[in-house]
Amino acid sequence: MLSTEKSAALRHEVETFLYDEAALLDEWRLEEWLGLLTEDASYHIPATDTPDGDPRTSLFIIADDILRIRSRVKQLLGRFAHAETPHSRTRRLVGNVRVRSVEGDVIRATANFAVYRTRMEQLDTYVGRYEYVLVRQADGGLKIRERRAILDLDSLRPQGKVSIIL
C-alpha cells in the first residue's frame, strides 16, 4: 500500500497525464500523442454487447497493436481518411480518475469519459470508461502500454462509427 500522501501524488500525476493526453487528441496533435505510447502499446474498443471481451475470441470495434495505431494516425493525418476529412472537432471530459494498482513500474488506472464529436452540424457523444496500463519510464515519466475504451452505449447509434481516436 502506498501512503495516503504518495497515492494522492500519484493520482494527481496520472490525472495530469490523462488530461494532457486528452488535449493532444482534441488538438489533433496525433504525432505527439504517439510519443505517449510504449513500443508494445495496444488500443482497444470492445463491441458494445461484449464489454469484457478478449479480442482473440470476440469481435471488437477496434483492437490495434502499435503498428496499426501508427498506421491509424498516419491515415487520419493524411488525405484519404474521408470520415475525418475535414477533421471533426472533439472535446473530451475525463474524470473520476482512479489508480487501481501499482506493481513495480506498472500502474493500472481507470477513468470515465465523455467525448463529444462535432462535424457537419452533427453532434455525437461517446460515453464510457478507460482502462489504462501505464508504465513508469527510466526518465521518470509515464507511457501508455494498454488503452482500452469501454463504451457504455448499447450500440453505435446514431454515432455510426468511431473514426476519431476515442
Partner: protein, 375 residues
C-alpha cells in the same frame, strides 16, 4: 446456440423476436410479445432460459412458446384455453445454419426464395469441415443514409480504390498485394434479387491463400488446408472456396461478405434517411485459437465501425444522402458493364439485379407463385 434454452433476442424488420433452441432441440422464432397484454416476455439480449416469464402479470411460456403458467387462472371463463395463447411463431426455415424468418404464413419455400444464392452460401460454409459459427461480439451501428445505399455499397467493386485508398495503402505496407488493376472476377444475378461479385482478392485468407501478414510459419499449414479442400471438393470448388472472395446479397438486406474474414451484415431502415446496421463475424467452428485470433484481427483491419474502411463507407453514403437534396440529379447511374457480355466486379450488374427486383415489388408486379394463386 448449442444448448436447449439458449436464446437471442433480436429486432427483425422492427419486430422484437426471440430465437431459441427449444427443449426438444428445435430452433424456433417466437414473437416477443406477451399474448396477454403485449409486454416483451424477454428483455435480455441473450442467455439460456427454461422459460420466458412476462414481468407484467407473470404469464409464463416455455422454450417452445407454449403458455405454461397463468397466475389466478380460475378468474377466466371455462372457455379459456392456454393453447390459444402460445407465443406466435412466424414461418422459420434454415439453410446451412442460417435461420430465416418469414412473417407471412404462406408463400414460396426458403430454398426456392434463395435460388442461386445457395451456391454462394455453400462456398462460404465449405470453409469448415464441421460448420461455421458466429463469434461473440456484435458491431451495432448506423448510417444517416437510405438503406439501399448500403446494398449498393456492400458489393461495389468500383468504389474500392477511391473510397478505401487508405486501407489499400495499409495493406501494401504490411505485405499485401498492390491492387491497382481491376479485380479479376465476375458479377452474377442469382434470381429473386440476390446477386454476388466473386473475385481474386488482394488480401490473404486463412482458407487458404497465404499472405505475408500471416508469417512464414503459416505457409505450410495453409497449403495443407488447401490440399484437404481439393481432396474433398475437387480442384474447381476448392479454388473458389479458398482463393476467391465474394460479396453476396441475399435480397433485400442481408449481406455476407467473405473477404479477409467473413462478415454477416444486415440493416433495416428506420426512416428514409437513417438505417440501423448489425454485423457479426462468421468463423469455422473447428479453427484453432491462433487462427481465430488472426481472422478476428484481419476482420478489424477493414471491417466495422472502427476499421480502416467502413467509417469511410459511412461517410460516403451519408454524403450521397446529403447530395440527394438536389432533385436535379434524378438518377443514380448504375450502368457500368452494360456494354460487356460478362460484367466484372467493378461493374454494376449486381446492383441492377437488386434494383430490378425492388422495382418489381414496389410496382406490385406479381411473382409467378402469386400470379398462379390469383388465377
Amino acid at each position: 446456440m448449442a444448448q436447449p434454452g439458449d436464446f437471442r433476442a433480436r429486432r427483425v424488420a422492427g419486430r422484437p423476436v426471440i430465437l431459441v433452441r427449444s427443449d426438444d432441440g428445435q430452433v424456433r422464432v417466437l414473437l416477443n410479445t406477451c399474448t396477454h397484454r403485449g409486454a416483451l416476455v424477454c428483455r435480455t439480449q441473450s442467455g439460456n432460459a427454461r422459460s420466458f416469464q412476462c414481468a407484467y402479470h407473470a404469464w409464463t411460456f416455455n422454450s417452445r412458446g407454449e403458455l405454461v403458467g397463468v397466475p389466478g387462472e380460475d378468474a377466466y371463463s371455462l372457455s379459456f384455453d392456454r393453447k390459444d395463447f402460445a407465443l406466435a411463431q412466424p414461418r422459420v426455415d434454415s439453410y446451412r445454419g442460417f435461420v430465416f424468418v418469414n412473417f407471412t404464413p404462406e408463400g414460396e419455400s426458403l430454398s426456392d426464395y434463395l435460388a442461386g444464392a445457395k451456391e454462394f452460401l455453400d462456398l462460404v460454409c465449405d470453409q469448415s469441415e464441421v460448420g461455421m459459427e458466429v463469434v461473440p461480439g456484435a458491431q451495432l451501428y448506423s448510417m444517416r443514409a437510405n438503406w439501399k445505399l448500403l446494398v449498393e455499397n456492400s458489393f461495389d467493386g468500383y468504389h474500392g480504390l477511391p473510397t478505401h485508398q487508405r486501407y489499400f495503402q495499409f495493406l501494401v505496407e504490411t505485405g499485401g498485394l498492390d491492387m491497382t488493376e481491376r479485380l479479376p472476377g465476375r458479377a452474377l444475378a442469382l434470381g429473386n434479387g440476390h446477386a454476388v461479385i466473386e473475385y481474386e482478392p488482394p488480401w490473404g485468407r486463412l482458407v487458404a491463400q497465404w499472405n505475408p501478414v500471416f508469417g512464414e510459419t503459416k505457409k505450410a499449414e495453409i497449403e495443407t488446408v488447401y490440399a484437404k479442400l481439393e481432396a474433398k471438393f475437387g480442384a474447381e470448388w476448392a479454388r473458389r472456396v479458398s482463393r476467391t472472395s465474394r460479396n453476396l446479397l441475399i435480397f433485400p438486406n442481408l449481406i455476407i461478405n467473405d473477404l479477409m474474414a467473413v462478415t454477416i451484415r444486415t440493416f433495416f431502415p428506420v426512416s428514409p434517411d437513417y438505417m440501423e446496421v448489425s454485423a457479426w463475424a462468421l468463423e469455422p467452428q473447428d479453427e484453432s485459437a491462433e487462427d481465430r485470433a488472426i481472422r478476428l484481427d484481419n476482420f478489424l483491419t477493414f471491417l466495422g465501425p472502427g476499421g480502416f474502411a467502413t467509417p469511410d463507407d459511412v461517410e460516403m453514403l451519408e454524403s450521397c444522402q446529403k447530395g440527394f437534396a438536389n432533385r436535379e440529379v434524378m438518377w443514380s447511374d448504375i450502368s457500368r458493364g452494360m456494354n460487356r457480355a460478362e460484367p466484372v466486379p467493378t461493374d454494376e450488374l449486381q446492383m441492377r439485379a437488386f434494383w430490378r427486383r425492388w422495382h418489381d415489388l414496389l410496382t406490385l408486379r406479381p411473382t409467378k407463385a402469386e400470379a398462379q394463386r390469383a388465377a
